[in-house]
Amino acid sequence: MNDTPLFQVSATPIDIPAIRQAMLDTDCGAYAQFEGWIRNKNDGRAVDRLEYEVYEPLAVAEGLRIIEEAMQRFKLKRAMVVHRSGLLELGDSAVVVAATSPHRDEAFKGCRYIIDEVKVRLPIWKKEHYASGEREWVNCQECENPRN
């Protein structure tokens, strides 16, 4: 077993072959990998690029908790997440989730569980930069008092 950290925040492009290499395990017959990409539109608005703000101390702690939950619940051999921070361009990988298990069903389910939890539990925020020149924090329509 290697000592690659199971949850990482990366300010530079994610090295996907390195993740596969770190996960490689001859006890396992299944390797599932989910990759989240930067898409060119959201809610009908053309997106040019975006930035992620990550509060790293808690993102790492909570990310490791999610991985631990998935490993127990789905009997994974190993699971790993790398999430980007900083400025990203269209087509860049925002997040990579990887899971290994003896058989594919657990690997798929574990991978799915991890990405779903990552999206709702980690202190990570996405600011979209639109083609119009505007910039907006995602999911934050109600953050500002409408009376202002």
């Binding site: 989240g36 992620y52 703000e53 990550v54 509060y55 101390p57 808690l58 993102a59 702690a61 909570e62 999430h83 925002a94 997040v95 990405i115 990552v118 999206k119 709702v120 539990r121 980690l122 202190p123 990570i124 925020w125 996405k126 600011k127 924090w137 995602v138 999911n139 934050c140 109600e142 953050c143 500002e144 008092n145 409408p146 202002n148």
Partner: protein
């Protein structure tokens, strides 16, 4: 009255115009503290899907606040 430290992130930092602040409060929970701070930062809206942490541990809005705590207010998250 007790002194607590507050940190604002992402959209909340933009709306309050500050990254962190220290204040004396009678608030006994993060929920009450947030409501109190809406008076100081009128651009802050409802906290529906927001999350809160105390001293770098994810917390509940109804957890007890202790003197010297650092309360982290997280606007709705959007990772992944």
């Amino acid at each position: 009255m007790k002194q607590v430290h507050v940190r604002w992130f992402a959209a909340y930092r933009d709306l309050t115009g500050v990254e962190s602040e220290t204040l004396d409060t009678e608030a006994t929970t993060p929920a009450a503290l947030f409501d109190e701070l809406k008076g100081r930062h009128p651009r802050l809206g409802a906290r529906h899907a927001a999350l809160v942490a105390i001293n770098d541990e994810m917390s509940d809005w109804s957890s007890p606040l202790n003197p010297g705590d650092t309360v982290l207010f997280f606007p709705p998250v959007s990772g992944g």
